[in-house]
Symmetry: C2
Subunit: 231 residues, 2 copies
DNA sequence: CCTACCGATCGGTAGG
DNA sequence: CCTACCGATCGGTAGG
């Protein structure tokens, strides 16, 4: 699992690292990841060449391979970072809820946070995972699937509670697929700075998926903080 | 606009058409389109080579270019046929409704029909449009956008009516984006022959998006047959 | 991280 | 529709 503080050391070919301090290895590696995420999102994994990525950070065509074993490894890191960010964002959102938050408030927070992951400042990463999934190797897909399973599992107790209250009328497991699909598809049409804000979209989504809020007042809360989804 | 009965005549290079009757030009062209749709869906447009497509129908690498100007032209035809099929399917579904069909029944029919387009026997075509959109040229995109606009416009009077009845609580324009997104995303997870049938998914979708059915009994119908969407 | 390069593959074409 | 081919581009590497 990658953290931005402890990147893998670069491959041991070539000169030992002794460069200008403001452009050290970590920076260059980071720039490659950001450029790859942006280009993979804009043109797709197959439609992006390693030369495109190199040029985006002012390198020559062979140089990205000093930092990454392969183009696929770069995709893998982009997707891993995307999931790490999404998971942290979800954890923060749930932790920020007041103790007595209703299931409706919890769902609202999850939806708003998911929109942030899809359209906020780190928006290049998760859409790459969503739409370039097939270019991961089977082993990579399996690893990432465990992360997305955990992410999605956090929705289950909230949807179960809402179903129990009668404000969510579909089966929770199916509702989760439809709801996440509705949100994920917004990558195709949402324009930041356009007519709809993410706050407004969150309200609209809740209005679409849940019956009238009056019914859910004072309902029992769901169980404790989520990240424990699947033991 | 392509129809399967009147394909463009093949390019005029090479021998005049004088082959076995069971493998005439129309058949070969058709086979190429079907193979391209299947491969574009499975591996993406960029991830599919024209050699892959040729091999899938037992041709040599250069032969697809006897039938199509370019790989992009093949994608264009796949997407055009997908939209032609989807539009016809929608028209048939609305025409099959009884005269007094409620807005809820109309939405149910639209959802069921959309699932059929996504997962039925012609399921390779529309998903290619949804997920390989960016590989169309700007001019092609514009042409296809007019078709998708018309397709989606048929949902508007139905959603407006349901909103008026109070069973659809989100703004109809936003609801349409979310609902079509939820359905389109099923391409990512639906497995034909799996636990859920398309009929069950339709019921679940209606349950998720609409408030209790009792409220909508005897409500006024929406206006006439749809295909007239945007003048 | 650059220079210089490789083998493979790609979309596409001439000519029959 | 095949044969034979082309120029361009691709991911990746040796060596410094």
């Amino acid at each position: 699992m990658p953290t931005s503080l402890a990147p893998d050391t670069p491959k041991k070919r070539g000169r030992p690292p002794k460069q200008r301090a403001d452009l050290d290895e970590g920076n260059r590696r980071r720039q490659l990841i950001e450029a790859a995420a942006r280009l993979f999102r804009a043109k797709g994994f197959e439609g992006t060449s390693t030369r495109d990525i190199a040029a985006a950070v002012g390198m020559r065509s062979g140089s990205p391979f000093y930092h990454f074993e392969s183009k696929n490894a770069l995709l893998h890191v982009v997707v891993q970072e995307g999931m790490a960010f999404a998971t942290q964002s979800q954890k923060d959102a749930l932790a920020a809820l007041p103790q007595g938050a209703s299931a409706r408030e919890q769902l609202s927070s999850l939806v708003r946070q998911h929109f942030e992951v899809l359209h906020g400042p780190r928006a290049d990463f998760i859409p790459v995972m969503l739409y370039e999934w097939r270019s991961l190797t089977p082993a990579q897909r399996q690893e990432i699937a465990a992360l997305t399973d955990a992410y999605e599992a956090c929705w289950t107790p909230v949807l179960d509670a809402l179903h129990g209250q009668g404000v969510l009328r579909a089966a929770p497991a199916t509702a989760r697929l439809f709801i996440l699909g509705a949100l994920n598809w917004s990558v195709q049409w949402f324009k930041p700075g356009g007519a709809r804000s993410l706050d407004e979209l969150t309200d609209q989504a809740l209005a679409l998926f849940l019956a009238s809020p009056a019914q859910s007042a004072g309902a029992p809360r769901t169980q404790r903080s989520c990240p424990s989804g699947r033991a």
